[in-house]
Amino acid sequence: MNLISGHFIFFVLAVLLFYYAVPRKSQNVLLVAASYLFYFSISLWFPLILIVVTVVTWLIAMQLFLKRQHRKTFFILALVFNLAILVVFKVHHFFVPQILSRLDMFGWQDQTLGLHILIPVGMSFYILQAISFVVDCYQGRLASFPGLMDFSLYLAYFPKLTAGPIERPGSFLPKLLKARTVDNEKIAKAFALLLIGLVRKIVVADPLLAAVPAGLFQDPGAYTAVQLISMTLLFGLGLYFDFSGYTDIVRGISGFFGIELSPNFRWPLFSKGISDFWNRWHISLSHWLRDNIFYPLTRMFLKKNIRSDNWKAVFIPPVVTMALSGFWHGTRAHFLVWGLIMGLLLAVERLWRVKVNPVRRIVPGTLRNMGSIVFTMGLIFACSIPFMVPLAKIVPYMKGVSKLNGLHAANFRIFVFLVPGLLIDLIQFRANDELVFMKWHSSFQAAAIAFAVLAVLFMSQVYVPGAFLYQGF
């Protein structure tokens, strides 16, 4: 069931109807049932794996929570169990059919594996949440142990099941237990997020991604330098608006149920540094990696030498963390290379902060900020090429780019679809508020809503809404 479909709208409306008809105590049970029904609509066997992960993790975590003996053994057992499942499916995987064709367009389909196992949609996301839960139990951070039904909902909650956000147990589980108030303000906020997400996805991302030639990354020699650069840029921006649109949509839907989901993006196109970018892009994954990999590793090295010029602490944690981020995205070599490059960039940026910071002293604020943004985004874009281009095609791709030809063949008109997306980001960024539109004068709000709704309706007729790319991870 695609999130952008009549079936899904009908499904959400039906669940909402029952949700507000049943007593509060039964709402979580209803949401678990609805979430599994949603998952069954994607595949008959995906939910079976989720049930196994849920029950086994819950049982082991209960031992961690209740017992004082053998805690480390149970902790390792739970980690190995979850990581083993993730690794098995990551190594031997093929994407789900509806996403397969989309990713294949960009050469992301794995052609090298003998054992063809379909990776369950959402597994990469719910496994990380299961691990967070185990870590919290081990470190004694949970005030109370959740029942199996609440824990099931934590992993399976359908708005976030297929591509996050990756919620922390400490913040999400209490939301399942407390009373939920869904008033006019919350409904307005949910509608606003939903509409912004639909604009990001249907008006911006889909046209951008549709403009990228199917074989761009598989056969880069067939394209001119300007086509390669402009289309790769389009793909990168399309990926951003696709994923941020998804996040806004599911946060909006969840808002109707009175359950607030975490934001995943804070206007990454305005980042003023590499670490700043990773605090703005796919925040829930970045924070998971930071809390569970980067912090413990850095702490371990700094305990031996707390000084800022402890090179092991500066280099090893970010490189390991981002390499694992690469693995999380996929097991092919180009994802690993991308992760290593990003880790090195973070380390070099830290080194630069320690050793020199001349720009801060000599360049005026506004100019410095603009320069930082342009430099950061150029660097992030250039270093993300290995994320998009398979390793075997990197050399032909770079050769194609270095020719610096083909200005006449480029189609720059497609970039006009970026305008609404960039405008939304700019307005939100300047106000530091994703719902700044709700503070506008009512006449401006009405005009903006009417324009957005018409644009979404029109563009959904022009382009068939595609599957969300991040559901493929």
Binding site: D136, Q139, R141, R168, G170, K272, G273, S275, D276, R290, D291, N292, F294, Y295, P296, T298, R299, L302, K303, I306, R307, S308, A313, V314, R350, R353, V354
Partner: protein, 85 residues
């Protein structure tokens, strides 16, 4: 029992000398250090390790957040709270 003043003085001194590397910087108690871009994730862990070595208090990784450690005031409060608990 350590006092607010001692914690504040030692933390401020460490941040200015080791992290900002500018002892003369006029850091205010409520100045946003993380969200203001003055310190990053690496420096946050440095502060956690410094607190552990100086005051014998372990700040869990989960509490090394902008919500809990953005300003000097917040860091002092976090240390004193952890000490009490």
């Amino acid at each position: 029992m350590i006092s607010d003043t001692v914690v504040r003085k030692k933390l401020k001194s460490f941040i200015l000398k080791e992290i900002l590397r500018n002892p003369a910087y006029p850091m205010k108690p409520d100045e946003p250090l993380i969200s203001g871009g003055l310190i990053d994730s690496f420096s946050v862990v440095q502060i956690a390790v410094f607190v552990e070595e100086t005051f014998g208090i372990v700040i869990p990784d989960a509490e090394l957040t902008v919500e809990d450690m953005d300003t000097l005031n917040q860091m002092v409060a976090l240390v004193l709270n952890e000490k009490r608990s």
